[in-house]
């Protein structure tokens, strides 16, 4: 296992040659990412630190490898069902809905939301922004092509969210997959429809350093399973950023096992796994 001293050295080196700052990352997962990088590149930590100092491209690659890119279509269907039945209907009479997917990775969450918005008749009103630190992931998100077999397990989630109504078990809604994506089993691919791909604005964004880069506040901010990689101090700073950039009564959607722990928790009211910004 890489020692904590070496981890500190690595973080200090990255900080000295770039604006990336991993100081407030969660120790264990960061340590584990670094170990994976050492194994994948077959080098030791001293060599890694030296190479980072002199090779800018390598540094960028290391930063990308540190980020975790797990995302799934309709991950945690209960949250999406809540959005569908309890939250989104409130926006029926709004002129617009501003949505920010922070830490969107390869975009499955963005597409899930776009599909849901379309089913709710809210697609045209929505202004959708999506950001990530990892530009490779943003490119994947823009392309909207995912592996079929890998995502097969998540079709159940699609069915649960879009075809069923937990408040009325008899209701079965017919939403064909082909409305939203083309499946090519031979190529093992799912390709999102053009109208979905064209909608979001994707930008690189660094939650550690950057403020809101969109000159707008938001009705809904998604940031799911991102702040688990940060310590309490950085978590609180980011939640504050979100709080300051949500409209009152706006919603923050975190991962299923994330919570708000600092004083900023007082700005939110937790309802069914979502955080609603209080109006005062």
């Amino acid at each position: 296992m890489v020692s904590l001293q070496d981890i500190s050295k690595l973080i200090a080196t990255i900080k000295s040659v770039s604006r990336y700052d991993f100081e407030d990352y969660s120790e264990k997962s960061f340590q584990r990412r670094v170990e994976k990088i050492l194994m994948d590149n077959r080098i030791n930590v001293t060599a890694l630190i030296e190479k980072i100092k002199t090779n800018k491209d390598f540094l960028e690659k290391v930063v990308k490898d540190i980020t975790v890119n797990t995302t799934e279509l309709f991950r945690d269907p209960e949250i999406w069902t809540t959005l569908k039945h309890r939250i989104l209907p409130r926006y029926k009479n709004n002129k617009s809905i501003f949505i920010w997917h922070s830490g969107c990775s390869s975009g499955q969450e963005v597409y899930s939301m776009l599909i849901l918005l379309n089913e709710m008749g809210l697609f045209d009103k929505a202004k959708v922004f999506a950001t990530d630190l990892n530009t490779d992931m943003l490119e994947l998100a823009k392309k909207g092509v995912f592996r079929y077999r890998f995502n097969l397990g998540y079709f159940d989630n699609f069915d649960k969210v879009l075809r069923e109504n937990p408040y009325n078990f008899e209701e079965k809604i017919d939403v064909p997959y082909s409305k939203y994506f083309d499946i090519d089993k031979a190529k093992d691919s799912i390709t999102m429809k053009q109208f979905l791909r064209d909608k979001p604005i994707y930008r690189k964004h660094d939650l550690v350093n950057d403020k809101n880069i969109f000159y707008s506040k938001f009705d809904i901010i998604f940031c799911r399973n991102v702040i688990i990689y940060f310590n309490n101090k950085l978590q609180n700073k980011i939640i504050e950023l979100f709080s300051n950039n949500l409209y009152k009564d706006g919603y923050l959607v975190l991962g299923a096992h994330e919570s708000i722990l600092g004083p900023v928790a007082n700005s939110f009211e937790r309802t069914k796994g979502l955080y609603k910004k209080k109006s005062f």
Binding site: S26, S29, R32, V68, G153, I228, Y229, E258, S259, L261
Partner: protein, 186 residues
């Protein structure tokens, strides 16, 4: 007190063993107990409830950065890895599965071994793959106490035999012996 934590890893065939162990641990048990158990891909909810039925201690799937408290059972949430951090906190991660497992027993054990050193007890139960074997070795290497469920008693013994191959474990115990041992830590 000699120990600060107990961590139990298991997979196929471990559910009933864990249930029996939890049923035997009394209220005010002096240590936190971490469970890292594989589950079927789509069994995401209902597991805590099932384990809670007979347990006298509260069973929960922790949130990220929750403070660790004695007398609580922490079950690694579905689809997350669970780490034990320095500073008495749990952290979660959605990194890729390891050996097809998320939660990975290895990762939980490695992080616990690093944090608790010789102040922990690691237990591997019945299971159908090798996840956990390397983690248990790390517990032993860090001075912790290692136990495996007697393979003769396991519904599936791959996990326990793999653990015993990799590590000179301290005890090979039946479920009842594991329970007696845990109660004496009291």
């Amino acid at each position: 007190m000699l120990y600060k934590a107990v961590m139990i890893g298991g997979s196929a065939g471990s559910f009933q063993v864990v249930t029996k162990i939890l049923a035997s641990l009394p209220k005010n048990y002096p240590l936190p107990v971490f469970l890292c158990l594989h589950r079927l891909k789509h069994v995401r909810s209902g597991f805590v409830e099932a384990l809670s039925i007979k347990a006298q201690l509260p069973v929960e799937e922790p949130n990220d950065k929750d403070h660790i408290k004695a007398g609580k059972i922490y079950l690694a949430p579905a689809n997350y890895h669970m780490y034990i951090e320095l500073g008495n906190k749990i952290s979660l991660s959605t990194e890729e599965p390891i050996n097809h497992s998320r939660p990975s027993i290895d990762l939980s054990f490695i992080s616990a071994a690093y944090t608790y050193k010789n102040k922990m007890v690691g237990i591997i139960l019945s299971g159908a793959n090798k996840d956990g074997a390397y983690g248990l070795k790390k517990v032993k290497d860090s001075g912790g106490l290692t136990i495996v469920q007697d393979p003769k008693e396991c519904q599936v013994k791959t996990m326990t035999t793999a653990s015993m191959k990799l590590t000179q474990v301290d005890h090979v115990f039946s479920t009842n012996q594991i329970i007696d041992f845990l109660l004496k830590l009291n």
